[in-house]
């Protein structure tokens, strides 16, 4: 798991995809990209999300997610997680998850499961920043 300041850029995404090719046992990579949505709340549009992270806790919690996925899906070879901290604008990427496996079935199921666990288990918080610069803290529904 890696945290990066600001958005997960196209450059970072292509590096991760290229790295996937190093593992030639894999026949499938499932890639999830979470994007900041320009939601409308009470007539105001979300301009960005400010992420804050409990960094000392997030790495051990991500390790637990890796272990849980690897034990549930035995065809999975590697899992990459990159999450933003700080400000990410609407339309930019704040989360990348890539699961590489021997075959597509485990790759896609494990990727979906990893995203669910990331949202439930990682100590990360988000504040929506609106176009008028006001803000509101938001939970995961």
């Amino acid at each position: 798991m890696h945290l990066i300041n600001g958005p997960v850029t196209p450059g970072v995404i292509s590096e991760i995809v290229a790295k996937g090719g190093e593992n030639q046992e894999c026949g499938a990579h499932s890639l999830f990209l979470g994007q900041v949505r320009r939601d409308q709340v009470d007539g105001k549009f979300v301009r960005a999300i400010e992420y804050s992270v409990y960094e000392e806790m997030v790495i051990p919690e991500a390790d637990k997610i890796f272990k849980s996925i690897m034990s549930e899906f035995d065809d999975v070879k590697t899992i990459e997680i990159i999450h933003s901290k700080g400000l990410v604008k609407a339309g930019e990427i704040s989360l990348l998850v890539m699961v590489s496996a021997g075959h597509r079935d485990h790759a896609s199921k494990a990727c979906a499961k990893a995203v669910e666990l990331i949202k439930k288990k990682l100590p990360i918080w988000k504040k929506e920043i609106f176009e008028d610069k006001s803000g509101q803290w938001r939970g995961n529904e």
Binding site: G34, Y51, S52, Y54, E56, M57, P60, H83, S94, L95, V115, I118, K119, K120, K121, L122, P123, I124, W125, K126, K127, W137, R138, G139, N140
Partner: protein, 77 residues
């Protein structure tokens, strides 16, 4: 004992700080009361507690120098 307390998300905004030190703490219950006195608004929010970066249940045993974190519901992704 001395305890460091970390606040995250909306709770850090309420306290105006992400870290505060408490002295002469006798137990977790004692710390909870001190924090409730300092920040009465906390009663309106849900949160979980971690001690030394691990989630704990209702009434953890504290040791001198421990770090207690107040964590609002997680919202990653």
């Amino acid at each position: 004992m001395d305890i460091s307390v970390l606040f995250f998300g909306v709770l850090a905004e309420i306290t105006g700080t992400s870290r505060k030190h408490y002295r002469d703490i006798k137990s977790f219950g004692d710390l909870k009361e001190r924090i409730r006195d300092d920040f009465p608004e906390f009663v309106h929010y849900n949160f979980r507690i971690a001690v030394n970066n691990k989630l704990v249940n209702e009434d953890p045993l504290l040791s001198p120098g421990d770090t207690v974190a107040y964590l609002p519901p997680f919202a990653g992704g």
